[in-house]
């Protein structure tokens, strides 16, 4: 799962940058609007009169209209919007959604390796798209219809204020959307739980018992297109009868109980998670063990999200974790703790080794205090094996952390928190052991796993993100409909949402992270048949011209895209599907963004509606 760099920022620094950026943009727009409005008014009237009119409008807004905002009027407008939506049979969308789930079996790959991811990804994106589409339609056509039918005449000649008309629409449609979202979420939850639920049985007679260890091994029955290997240890059996667990398959495992002489396989566990990762900072050492400025290698396989370290060299990936305390890892009552690391490393083979076999690596726990001697800084290497696309869990027991005694050469135990953690900081170094093989990693790929969050709570957070996207779409739709007709307002909403969803992409072209360059470069590459990942082969001046033209275009697009809310930041379904807890930080940012757009768009909508001739 790709984690956006910006997620590592603290809320405070994000907020500061966002507010500065946004205030600049808002100021720019306000001045632009004032100049435009003045120019338009001045053409029709004298400049003095134009200035007076604009001043009057602003004064009336802040002195009369905003202070006299009435909840009753706004709610009356909302009720009307709800009635209108219901009358337009919007709940059909829900029927459509249910139908989609009923027939999901036809187009969802039942033999997928991660059914939980598949189902969650499916229901979350289907709900999002349906909901956003509905929000666009409702919001874009409502006001234009009122203007076309002239029902607006009987509204604006009442004391209802322009922003109340705006807000009424927004709240009404949001209420309808919320109802729909709650319905879809409940059905989705049932769909996922039911879809993942399955049973296996164990054929008692087929269990192979190892005489010496007393362990029983075997395979469960084939259900839901998979079976599990399992190991039974009857000695473990406790009061409720737990005698073992199965191996992981399709992202989950089962507990095995012994009851009345039968081995019972319980429902699946471990596929609906909310892992809480504690991330560190990532840096690299090159193959000679020197700090590397550019990060690791880029093996040209994918864009620069991940960097690679070369096997059997000093090439190292270093994660530095902060604010670690012993209490985070020691379960109460016991002295021995566990440092739970999770690694999602990419594996890149430059030679055709045995494709099947795993690649070996080692972990060193390192004191970040560089003034210490290297003997005192490093732990002995802890070996692990990595597999492509599989999360490796490396649970390092405190009692397994050792270091070679420089005098005797013997391994001796050391204390993680006394010897390696320095004022809460610890480095984790990772190397690849196999020659001519590579590990690929990004900052979010290795983390310490904190105690689990609740999956349901995580799901609710994800839906909150979808809800905020819906609110944004409604705000944009109603905003556009204050001055555009229904169809054009709809198209504008779609364009803005698309722009918002691809805002990150435009940024990536800018920073050179997406290959192929800007539009002109792409055209040139197309015409001259040059692939997107190679250096452009042309005269220097030509390249310079192309790049500056593209730069100008992309800069403009980027500023425009900045105006649009970044919808991709609100989409957290990947986190839920991959089982990562959604940090409150993210929700908070989305909340701030939504509120900012809320106020800006309501304000803009008010001024457009009041300066618009309703009956023209």
């Amino acid at each position: 799962m790709v984690v956006d760099q910006s997620e590592f920022e603290s809320f405070g620094s994000w907020f500061y940058i966002y507010m500065v950026d946004f205030s600049m943009l808002a100021l720019f727009m306000l001045v632009g609007w004032a100049i435009l409005a003045f120019a338009l008014a001045a053409i029709r009237n004298s400049p003095i009169r134009a200035a007076k009119m604009i001043a009057g409008t602003i004064k009336r807004a802040f002195m009369v209209d905003f202070p006299s905002t009435s909840i009753r009027r706004t709610m009356a407008m909302s009720r009307l919007a709800i009635q209108e939506a219901i009358r337009n049979k919007v709940l059909i969308i829900f029927v459509l959604f249910v139908a989609l789930l009923l027939f999901a079996g036809w187009f969802l790959d039942v033999e997928n390796d991660h059914p939980a991811r598949l189902y969650l990804g499916f229901v979350l994106s289907a709900s999002t798209y349906l909901l956003l589409a509905l929000a666009m339609f409702l919001s874009a056509f409502s006001l234009p219809n009122d203007i076309k039918n002239r029902t607006i005449y009987t509204i604006t000649t009442k004391p209802v204020r322009a922003h109340e008309i705006f807000l009424g629409r927004v709240f009404g449609f949001a209420a309808v959307g919320t109802l729909l979202l709650v319905l879809m979420a409940s059905v989705s939850y049932g769909f996922v739980i039911r879809g993942l639920d399955h049973e296996h049985t164990i054929d008692k007679t087929a269990i192979e018992w190892d005489e010496s260890t007393g362990l029983g091994t075997g395979k469960t029955s084939l259900d839901g297109y998979h079976r599990h290997d399992f190991t039974i240890n009857e000695k473990l059996k406790n009061a409720d009868g737990l005698v073992g667990t199965t191996e992981l398959s399709k992202g989950h495992a089962h507990n095995i109980y012994l009851r009345d002489g039968d081995y019972i396989v319980e429902p699946p566990t471990g596929d609906l998670l909310a892992r809480v990762p504690v991330y560190g900072k990532l840096s690299f050492l090159d193959r000679y063990g020197q700090p590397s400025e550019e990060g690791g290698l880029n093996v040209g396989k994918e864009w620069t999200y991940r960097s690679y370290i070369e096997g059997n060299t000093l090439s190292t990936a270093i994660w530095e974790f902060e604010n670690l305390t012993k209490e985070m890892f020691v379960t109460t009552g016991s002295d021995d703790g566990v440092l739970p690391l999770e690694l999602n490393l990419r594996v890149f083979r430059s030679t055709k080794g045995k494709i099947e076999s795993r690649i070996h690596g080692e972990i060193l726990l390192v004191n970040p205090e560089e003034t210490l001697s290297s003997v005192d800084r490093f732990s002995a290497p802890i070996p692990f094996e990595a597999d492509e696309f599989v999360t490796s869990q490396v649970n390092i027991k405190f009692s397994d952390i050792r270091r070679q005694n420089p005098v005797t050469g013997e391994l001796q135990n050391i204390d993680l928190f006394k010897d390696l953690v320095d004022s809460g900081k610890l480095q984790v170094h990772i190397r690849c052991k196999d020659h001519a093989q590579f590990f690929g990693m990004a900052r979010a790929d290795v983390y310490i796993r904190a105690p689990e969050g609740s999956f349901e709570a995580n799901l609710i957070k994800c839906y909150l993100g979808i809800w905020m996207q819906m609110l944004l779409v409604i705000l944009l739709g109603v905003f556009f409909s204050t001055f555009l007709n229904g169809i054009v307002a709809l198209i504008s909403s779609v364009a803005i949402v698309a722009m918002g969803m691809f805002a990150g992409f435009i940024g990536d072209i800018q920073t050179g992270e997406a290959p192929g360059g800007g539009p002109i470069e792409s055209i040139v590459r197309n015409i001259t048949q040059q692939g997107a990942t190679l250096e452009l082969e042309m005269g220097d001046t030509a390249i310079e011209v192309i790049e500056s033209l593209d730069g100008f275009y992309l800069n403009t697009m980027e500023s425009l895209a900045k105006l649009a809310p970044d919808f991709s930041k609100f989409n957290m379904s990947a986190k839920v599907a991959y089982g990562y807890d959604i940090h409150l930080n993210l929700i908070l940012r989305q909340l701030v963004t939504t509120m900012v757009y809320f106020f800006v768009l309501v304000l803009a909508g008010y001024f457009i509606l009041t300066s618009r001739e309703i009956a023209a």
Binding site: I43, R44, N45, G56, T57, R60, V64, D65, S68, S70, R72, R73, M75, A76, M77, R79, L80, Q83, E84, R87, N149, R150, T151, I152, Y153, T154, I155, T156, T157, K158, P159, V160, R161, A162, T610, E613, I614, A615, A616
Partner: protein
């Protein structure tokens, strides 16, 4: 018809040099719908805007309500600019067609508009009951407006205009779509509202409407004000006397001139004939076509005294 009511009271509606030119998308002038209109409507009178279709009546009303913005000049209601929404608290407006939400029933409609006046639930309830009785729609109050006939829609439209017990009632062609009885009821209601102290500004192209109920009228033609004054003074023709008699034989008819001269015979009526509005109207139209831009104000004298009257 009292003219005195219209002459004195405080000015409720005022237009100064009010001009409206509809422009096309590119800002080019398309229609000069209203040309430099000066009007005053005073508290307690029924003021009628009369004119053929397209003469600028609805435009005037929309300018006063802030639905349109003047190209130049000013429109003031209760002394406030037409763009000021707070003036709407005291206004009731019946548009040329009742633009209402067809999926609401009569009660829901009135309740909705009541909420827009921030009226409490109890007040809305009693007001809705009174208004539904007033317009005689009790039997259909639960039916969606899309099932309503044109006349019924018109009546519910009037009821929504009265929901806030407005001081100023603006009616755009109030009798269109009504049958003769409905028309009569509407006119009676308008007069009754005036008698309750309300100010009414209405427009119509129907001469009979205006003649029957209005205290003062303004005649618009092609966006220009052609006549302004009390209805009876506009319609009386001073230098002609009309006599009506009955039971005259051809012989006596012959003697009429004599009889009149000697003041004998049964005099049934003796009066200045009122031209019908239709005649006045047609003469104005003919006049303005031969002398464009000319405006005859019977009330010019009154208007000059206006500052005293308005205080």
């Amino acid at each position: 018809m009292s003219t005195s009511a219209g002459q004195k009271g405080e000015v409720i509606v005022e237009t100064r040099n009010l001009t409206k030119t509809y422009k096309d998308f590119w800002g080019r002038s398309k229609v000069h719908a209203l040309k430099a209109l000066d009007l005053n409507v005073r508290r307690g009178e029924i003021f009628g805007l009369l004119g053929p279709n397209g003469s600028g009546k609805s435009t005037t009303i929309k300018l006063l309500l802030g639905l349109l913005f003047p190209t130049s000049g000013e429109a003031l209601v209760f002394g406030k600019d037409a763009a000021d929404v707070s003036k709407n608290e005291r206004i009731g407006y019946l548009p040329e067609e009742s633009y209402l939400y067809k999926f609401l029933n009569a009660e829901e409609t009135l309740d909705f508009y009541g909420r827009l006046f921030n009226m409490s639930g109890a007040r809305r309830k009693s007001r809705i009951r009174d208004l539904i009785n007033l317009i005689d729609l009790d039997w259909a109050k639960r039916r969606q407006l899309k099932e309503y006939s044109k006349g019924m829609t018109r009546r519910i439209g009037l009821a929504q205009a009265l929901i806030n017990d407005p001081e100023l009632i603006v009616l755009d062609e109030p009798t269109t779509g009504l049958d003769p009885i409905g028309t009569r009821d509407m006119k009676d209601l308008i007069v009754r509202l005036r008698d309750q102290g309300k100010t009414i500004l209405m427009c119509s192209h129907l001469l009979a409407d205006v003649q029957d109920v209005c205290d003062r009228i303004a005649i618009l033609h092609q966006g220009e004000l052609k006549e302004l004054g009390a209805v009876d003074s506009l319609l009386s023709v001073q230098d002609i006397t009309q006599i009506q008699a009955k039971n005259l034989t051809p012989d006596t008819e012959e003697a009429i001139r004599k009889l009149i001269a000697e003041n004998q015979g049964e005099l049934v009526s003796m009066d200045h004939p009122t031209t019908t509005l239709e005649d006045l109207f047609l003469s104005i139209v003919r006049d303005s076509e031969s002398r464009p831009g000319f405006v005859s104000h019977q009330e010019d004298a009154d208007q000059q005294e206006e500052p005293v009257a308005a205080e």
